[in-house]
Symmetry: C2
């Protein structure tokens, strides 16, 4: 897969092309490259030709600014599916999908994040510092997890409606459900929780004493 190594001068040209495109959004001309590198444009040209030959970029003849980076597509994070025991996983064939946040949190463009605090959603396996994704455009329905403002205070609860009564149920039997009238204006559904993400490393290291007691 890897191609012939580039010489220093070639690498310099390639790097400059990259920077130029990054900065200007359009590929450079030979003259521009030549000026930047303080060399003759024919020197640059021959480098571009070899860079093309070495497949480090695409040089299209007779086209102004005919330089294209063979850009590695912003690859998502590969996801290995449920892997059956015993098979070598992490092979190309086991990639069942590719992670792109927008695809995963498939909601509208208004999705926002919110940190969880407290243990009221413990039974739903949410803990302090988890990051929730909330979509204000998804309709709250029975059984969905919602973010609601109750007298100005944001809270995460299960949503359950019965006629004109809305019950906000915490996933922790320690706490009691909140009951409100549907038209009560001290109460407002902000959105529906469509996803969560937890950054495990940093935090979990501190918490790791926990499992020692448990096991």
């Amino acid at each position: 897969m890897t191609n012939k190594p580039l010489t220093k001068a070639q690498q310099k040209v390639l790097d400059l092309v990259k920077t130029y495109i990054e900065e200007n959004n359009i590929p450079p001309t030979l003259a521009e490259l030549a000026e930047s590198l303080k060399v003759n444009l024919n020197a640059v040209r021959s480098h571009l030709l070899t860079l093309d030959r070495k497949k480090a970029l695409k040089y299209i003849p007779n086209i102004s600014r005919g330089i294209e980076l063979l850009q590695v597509k912003p690859k998502g994070i590969p996801i290995y599916g449920y892997v059956p025991a015993g098979t070598p996983f992490m092979s190309q064939e086991n990639i069942v999908d590719t992670f792109e946040i927008k695809k995963y949190i498939s909601g509208s463009d208004d999705v926002f994040g919110l940190y969880v605090r407290g243990d009221s959603m413990k039974d739903a396996h949410l803990e302090t510092d988890d990051l929730l994704f909330v979509d204000p455009k998804v309709e709250a329905r029975n059984g969905r997890m919602v973010v609601a403002l109750v007298e100005g205070e944001p809270t995460v609860k299960w949503y359950e409606r019965d006629g004109n009564t809305i019950r906000l149920v915490p996933a922790n039997s320690k706490y009691k459900p909140i009951e409100v009238s549907r038209h009560d204006d001290r109460f407002k559904i902000v959105g529906v929780v469509v996803g969560m993400i937890r950054s495990i490393d940093k935090k979990r290291i501190d918490d790791s004493v926990k499992y020692k007691k448990a096991s």
Copy 2:
């Protein structure tokens, strides 16, 4: 923020420019646009000039292919921090960060995803269908959650090393820790779990009976 509306012809040119750049990675020439639209290149030019005036794109005079899209930066998901009770949240000032997966899962480029299955990590609040992010380049240390291959089977456990003995501890007292020798080659640490994401909506709706019993 929104600029003057574009006419049909202008929109057509803008769309074509977008498609062209998408496909070719370099901006089109006037002649190319003209040919695609089957009009004279001066027609295209005047459209580009007005598109620039209306700030729909950038048209740079005297430069070949001097067209730039004013690309809306791929905006991340805004994150509202811990919001103090009573304050109006979802205001600009409350955005503590912006979610970009690569920043959050700050690891190397080799991070991959893996679905959780089973309840062996229940006490760590992981459940079936959660998506784990695993970084093979992060070093396994005591207290970190790791993905290991034990006799070919991938498993998620807490990592604990004592001299040459490695203990893989499940976060569920129902299961027993696995003990292996450090140099045992039927055993291999694949990587460290650096994050997880859970798509709540679809799945959770089906599971929502659960909370009814609980509350």
